[in-house]
Symmetry: C2
Subunit: 159 residues, 2 copies
């Protein structure tokens, strides 16, 4: 048996039934692979997962304080600091103090930032296409819908 093969690969017949029934395990496996795929793709253009979400939030909702941004992009404010530093280094955002509230910074996406977002968007579109390759359009939408429902259900009532 040349069993020394990679882990994480599917070995259908040899997977215990009880494990197959565990949604958390299945979601976890899939998440690990999609995270790797998108992570690798973004890394290859010198980006990071959070770069995309932050730029997207800025492009869609306009300038914002860091804490508002953290909320929208679902990035912890503690992690956001480094992300914004990197984005500022690339010239993709500007971080200016808010004159009306000296605690705040106002984060603004730049023109090159908009272009950067488009670039990352395209990279991720490719990844998404690859990930969802075996699914039809309808199935893809179904998957999104189902995950969204599970997700917001888990997010909502902690009970």
């Amino acid at each position: 048996m040349e069993d020394g093969e990679e882990l994480r690969f599917d070995r259908g017949a040899e997977t215990p039934e009880r494990i197959k029934a565990q949604l958390s395990r299945l979601v976890g496996l899939t998440a690990a692979q999609t995270a790797r795929a998108s992570g690798d793709a973004l890394r290859s253009v010198g980006a990071h997962k959070d770069h995309f979400v932050v730029l997207a939030a800025l492009a869609e909702f306009g300038p914002a304080s860091q804490s508002a941004l953290a909320g929208r992009a679902r990035v912890y404010k503690s992690d956001l600091v480094a992300v914004l530093n990197e984005l500022a280094d690339g010239g993709w955002i500007r971080r200016t103090p808010d004159p009306s509230d000296k605690r705040r910074n106002v984060i603004t996406i730049t023109d090159t930032g908009v272009r950067r977002l488009a670039e990352l968007d395209q990279v991720l579109a490719g990844v998404n296409a690859h990930i969802t390759a075996p699914l039809t359009r309808e199935e893809r939408d179904q998957l999104f819908a189902l995950l969204n429902r599970v997700n917001s259900h888990l997010a909502g009532p902690p009970s």
Copy 2:
């Protein structure tokens, strides 16, 4: 705005469109929550994710060497060591040297191990029920099927 609320909570309207379209992000979010749910539940009975998969693999395929077990349970052999130590401490498995190959250990599930597995199975069934609460039976099956297809697609051809 009492926005200081927890992160990871759903804020539908304030989520940028582009982010909603990212499957990897959605799967990742869901995975984080399901992992937390099942992790917490297992921890509350003094168990660990890998305890379950290892016991399940033993129950379903019988005694095995650690490396065979690592393959079936999809646990890295390096991590398996600690798991087996814990399982042995609980009296749920036995680790005996294989007389026919002194490199190997033969891992056998004990009677109490079988009962432990049943216990964990029940705990996880509860978690699964909670996770999939908003879905009908058909939807739940659909979700499984879709994730399985995506998953094995990603696992298979690295191309």
